[in-house]
Every structure is written in structure tokens, then in C-alpha cells.
């Protein structure tokens, strides 16, 4: 069976800067795949290219057999890919409910949207308590939950998570990662980009290591966790 997402030989440029230099990877249905690497390695660039905010100069991104490099950003969301961006990017003046509604922007089934919202509130009960509060007034952890809830509102087949642990306390990071596993258990595939490599590798099925725009290592997460190179460069052990 073909992979859910198949990235082939992807080249992305920022002006003259060759940010992604021909990376290839794939995600199978039901997997958590993590992309680890240092700052500036190209992790966020990869996610932005999948979501259609950046266009590659070369290469293809096949999702359910459709080449996303030729599809508009709104269409990519309705095909079933949703991204939780780095730094949460909550719509601060909009209430929690309105933020979630924006996550369901491409949907037109009020009943289904209501059900999705109930499911988000089941995963993040704290959001329900703050339903009419402007998103900007939430704490950092709550904002991360809102960002993830918003990402789930489109009922994605594939969820792209960009640095979900950034700026959160260790306890909150544990909670967020537990919820990521729950989301995955309910059938959503996940592409997780993380600086916190130890945490990411502990929940992922497979992993890719990105260095200055190239994939330098790949394999089952448990194996990479034991790889001496990964240990030295990303796990600080």
C-alpha cells in the first residue's frame, strides 16, 4: 500500500538560500513520525511547504496520490492536512470558540463541527472553561492546547505539529505528549517537529534527522534513541 504522505526530492529556496536540499521521506497511515534537527535545519520549512505556504522549486509531495505542490493552501486543509504552527499562533482577539471555528473554516457541516468541538473539549477540558475568553488571555500551556484543538477541528488525516513543547514547563510537556499519543491512537497520523529530541523519539514510531537541509539519518525511533551520533548531537548524553 502506498504511504499516506510521500515527499520526494524536495528543494526549497528562500531567495538564494537553499533551505531544503532534496529531502525525501514518507509517513504511513497511523504513524507518528518525527523530524528532529537543530535550529535552521529546515524542519519548519518542511512543514510550511507541505501546508502550501511555501512552494518548492523541485520535487513532489504526494498525499493520498495528489501532488500537494500544485494545490492551494485552503485545498490542502480540506484534503485532510492540518498544521499546528510553531509558537502556537493563536488568534489573540478571537475567543476560544472562535479560534476553534477558524480551525474548521474549510468545513460546512455544522453538526460535524459541533461534534469535533465536543471531542476537542473532551481532550482539553480546560478550553471549555474558557470558551468565551479571548485566546490572547490564555496561559502558554492553554494556548498550546487551543492551537492543537484548532488543528484538530478540520478532522485531519495528518496533523503537522511544529515544536509543541516550546516554552512549556516539563509537566505540561508530558501532558501535551500524552495527548499527542491519544490523538494518534484515534487514527490521526502525526508529523512531529521537535527540538526536544528525547521526548519526540520516545513517542514516535520512526524518525528522520535533518541537518542543514538534508536528511542525514533515518530509522525506527527506538533505534535512533540509541544511535551514538544522535545521542551526542541531539540528546546531550
Amino acid at each position: 500500500m502506498a504511504a499516506l504522505l510521500e515527499v520526494k526530492d524536495l528543494h526549497v529556496f528562500y531567495g538564494a538560500i537553499h533551505a531544503l536540499q532534496g529531502i525525501s521521506f514518507h509517513i504511513e497511515e497511523g504513524e507518528i513520525v518525527t523530524l528532529i534537527g537543530a535550529n535552521g535545519a529546515g524542519k519548519s520549512t518542511t512543514l510550511k511547504t507541505i501546508s502550501g505556504l511555501l512552494r518548492p522549486r523541485q520535487g513532489s509531495i504526494l498525499f493520498k496520490g495528489i501532488d500537494l505542490t500544485k494545490v492551494s493552501a485552503p485545498k490542502i486543509v480540506s484534503l485532510g492536512i492540518s498544521q499546528v504552527p510553531e509558537g502556537r499562533k493563536i488568534f489573540a482577539p478571537l475567543t476560544v470558540r472562535e479560534n476553534l471555528e477558524m480551525g474548521a473554516y474549510t468545513r460546512n457541516d455544522p453538526k460535524g463541527i459541533q461534534e469535533s468541538m465536543e471531542r476537542v473539549f473532551a481532550s482539553f477540558p480546560r478550553l471549555k472553561e474558557r470558551i468565551n475568553q479571548p485566546g490572547g488571555t490564555l496561559s502558554g500551556g492553554e494556548q498550546q492546547m487551543l492551537a492543537m484543538g484548532r488543528g484538530l477541528m478540520s478532522n485531519p488525516k495528518l496533523l503537522l505539529l511544529d515544536e509543541p513543547s516550546m516554552g512549556l514547563s516539563p509537566l505540561l510537556v508530558e501532558e501535551i505528549f500524552r495527548i499527542i499519543q491519544e490523538i494518534n491512537a484515534r487514527g490521526t497520523s502525526i508529523l512531529l517537529v521537535e527540538q526536544n529530541a528525547a521526548m519526540a523519539l520516545s513517542i514516535a514510531h520512526r524518525a528522520y534527522v535533518l541537518e542543514t537541509g538534508n536528511i542525514v539519518l533515518e530509522g525506527p525511533a527506538a533505534e535512533l534513541l540509541e544511535n551514538p551520533l544522535v545521542k551526542a548531537a541531539y540528546l546531550g548524553r
Binding site: 492551494s72 485552503p74 490542502i76 499562533k89 489573540a92 475567543t95 477558524m102
Partner: protein, 347 residues
């Protein structure tokens, strides 16, 4: 009160200006100067009121009527600024086109008030969409000053192009007959006209519709999301360009109605008629806090009243100078305006 439509981020240049002000004329920053000035103005107003309450009330009534017309223009400035951070200086000229559209529809083609108003809305919305697509959209990623200068260019283009003989002609045109029969009532010496009630009723209705649109509909929520953060709005699947186009169209439709009402109140039409009301509505939007919808409305009412009061008690030549000095005072001492929020960092 609902949360402000657009939270604003304070500009670096404004902060620099304030710092300079702090350093060189610190006494001006002390609050009690503002309080003292406010008290003096209030005292003066009370004096005028006691002198002749009826006249004072008349000026207030006229000011409110003018303010509602300004509000219809100011909303377009504030919404467009909120979403693309552009002061759309061509907005006053779109307002002028609305006035001409209504004039031709009612006099030459004998349309009624409401159909003419709807036509003015459609024509202005269409014009604004064309302007946005042709002149502003290609500059979306250029430095903001480029779009601002372009807006001034579009403004001049509209004024002088429409002044050509085969368009609207450069002449003054008297708006006769008006689409509404002029009636006045005298209540305790204060004159109310049916036009005033129409201005207030139409504006209020449009404001309620606008409020509903922005805070209750999917499109309105998307507008607020786009105003806050465009890349993230795109990640949600929002078609950002379409939302921006809609914002221009809605603002222009309101200005079109404003143009029609304005020339019914002041029935002399000319292609430069949008310049002054446009600038004053812009001042009203800044006064209220640019980017804020309630701010634009309150700012417009205040500017309308300040204008009629200074015209009535001081002189009609001083009137404009006073209104423009409000712009300077607001920018110097409270650049975020009455309802503007101070810089709020995005988390």
C-alpha cells in the same frame, strides 16, 4: 462590550517620537496639562450652552448628523487598516463616486432612494475591489510606504480622471431634485429635519449589520483572524486574498452610502468633494483608535460635533484647522487613539 476588532501593535516610529518628546519637552507629557486644557474647553462649552441652550443643542444635533456620515467613511479606513495596515487614501474618492452614482441614479434615471443607495453600494464596492486588485495587491509584500504612496496616487487619479468632461465634468452640480422631500420640525426651537433622521436611521442600520457581520459570521471571524495573523489564517484554510477583497468591498459599500447621504445634506456635487470628508473621517478613525470599529464610530461622532461647534462659535475657516490639529494632538500624545490598545505582544 465585545473585544476590540483588531488589537494593534504600536509602531516603532511612534515610540521613537514619544521618546524624543519625553526627552525634550517633558512638561508637556504631564497629565495635568491635558486635564487643564480639557477643563477649560468644558468650561467654555458650558458658558456657550448657558448663553443660548437652543443654539447649542442645534449645533450638537447638526454635529451628530455629520458624525454619522463620517462614521460610514471612517469604518472603511479602520477596517482596511486593520487588515492590511494600509491607510487607503483613495477611500474618500470612492465616497465621491458613491455620491455621483446616487445623484445620476436619482436625477437622470429617477430611481428611488433605496435602489439608488443599493446601486451606490455596489458601484463603490466594485470600484474598491478593482483598486485593491490592480494597485494594492501587487504591493502586498512591498514596504508599506509603497502602498501608501500608491493610495495617494489612486486618490489623485480618481479625482482628476472623474473631473474630465466625458466623466463627471469638473463643474459644481446642484443636486436637484433631491430624492427625498425636505421636511423640518421645530422642537423647542431646535430644528430637526427628516434628512437627519434618515441619515441616523440608515447609518445605525448599517452599523448593526456590520457589527453582526464582523462578530457573528464566519466571514467576519475570518476577517479578524486575517487581521491578526495572515500566515496562520492561511494554515486554517482561509483564502486570505478573498477576505481582504471582501473587507475593501464592505468598507467601500459603507462609504458609498455615506457619499449619497452627504450630498443630500450638502447638495453640491463635485469630483473633489471626497477630499475633506475623507480626511476628516480619517482623523476620526485615528481619534477613535485606528483599527477599532467602535473607535471609528465614537471618533466620528466627536469629530462631527467638534466641527459644528467650532464652526458655530468660532469661525468656519478655523473649523478645519481645529479638526486637523486634533490629528496632531492625538498622534503626539495618544497615538493609539481613544479605543486603541497599547502594544500587545503576540505570545
Amino acid at each position: 462590550m465585545p473585544p476590540p476588532l483588531f488589537l494593534k501593535r504600536e509602531e516603532e516610529s511612534v515610540r521613537k517620537m514619544q521618546n524624543a518628546l519625553n526627552r525634550f519637552i517633558p512638561f508637556l507629557r504631564r497629565g495635568w496639562y491635558a486635564v487643564l486644557a480639557g477643563l477649560l474647553i468644558l468650561l467654555w462649552l458650558v458658558g456657550r450652552f448657558r448663553e443660548n441652550p437652543v443654539l447649542f443643542a442645534q449645533f450638537m444635533v447638526d454635529g451628530i448628523r455629520l458624525g454619522f456620515v463620517y462614521a460610514l467613511i471612517a469604518l472603511g479606513y479602520t477596517m482596511v487598516y486593520g487588515i492590511v495596515r494600509l491607510i487607503n487614501f483613495a477611500h474618500g474618492d470612492v465616497f465621491m463616486v458613491g455620491a455621483f452614482t446616487a445623484y445620476y441614479a436619482t436625477t437622470r434615471y429617477h430611481w428611488g432612494f433605496v435602489p439608488a443607495m443599493l446601486l451606490a453600494m455596489v458601484v463603490c464596492a466594485f470600484l474598491a475591489v478593482v483598486i485593491e486588485r490592480v494597485a494594492y495587491k501587487p504591493l502586498r509584500d512591498a514596504p508599506r510606504i509603497a502602498a501608501l504612496i500608491t493610495a495617494i496616487g489612486v486618490s489623485f487619479f480618481l479625482e482628476y480622471f472623474t473631473a474630465l468632461d466625458f466623466v463627471f465634468t469638473p463643474n459644481f452640480i446642484n443636486y436637484t431634485p433631491l430624492p427625498i422631500k425636505f421636511k423640518t420640525w421645530d422642537v423647542a426651537g431646535v430644528t430637526f429635519s427628516n434628512i437627519m433622521f434618515i441619515v441616523i436611521a440608515v447609518s445605525t442600520m448599517l452599523l448593526v449589520i456590520l457589527w453582526y457581520l464582523v462578530y457573528r459570521t464566519k466571514l467576519g471571524k475570518a476577517m479578524r483572524a486575517v487581521a491578526w495573523d495572515k500566515p496562520t489564517a492561511r494554515l486554517m484554510g482561509i483564502d486570505v486574498d478573498l477576505v481582504i477583497t471582501f473587507t475593501f468591498a464592505i468598507g467601500a459599500a459603507l462609504a458609498g452610502v455615506g457619499g449619497m447621504l452627504y450630498v443630500i445634506v450638502y447638495p453640491q456635487i463635485r469630483t473633489f468633494l471626497g477630499v475633506m470628508p475623507g480626511l476628516k473621517a480619517f482623523i476620526a478613525a485615528v481619534f477613535g483608535g485606528i483599527g477599532s470599529i467602535p473607535g471609528a464610530f465614537i471618533g466620528s461622532l466627536l469629530i462631527g460635533m467638534i466641527e459644528t461647534l467650532s464652526q458655530g462659535y468660532l469661525s468656519s475657516t478655523l473649523r478645519d484647522a481645529i479638526v486637523f490639529s486634533i490629528l496632531i494632538i492625538v498622534l503626539l500624545f495618544r497615538p493609539t487613539g481613544l479605543f486603541g490598545e497599547a502594544a500587545k505582544e503576540k505570545a
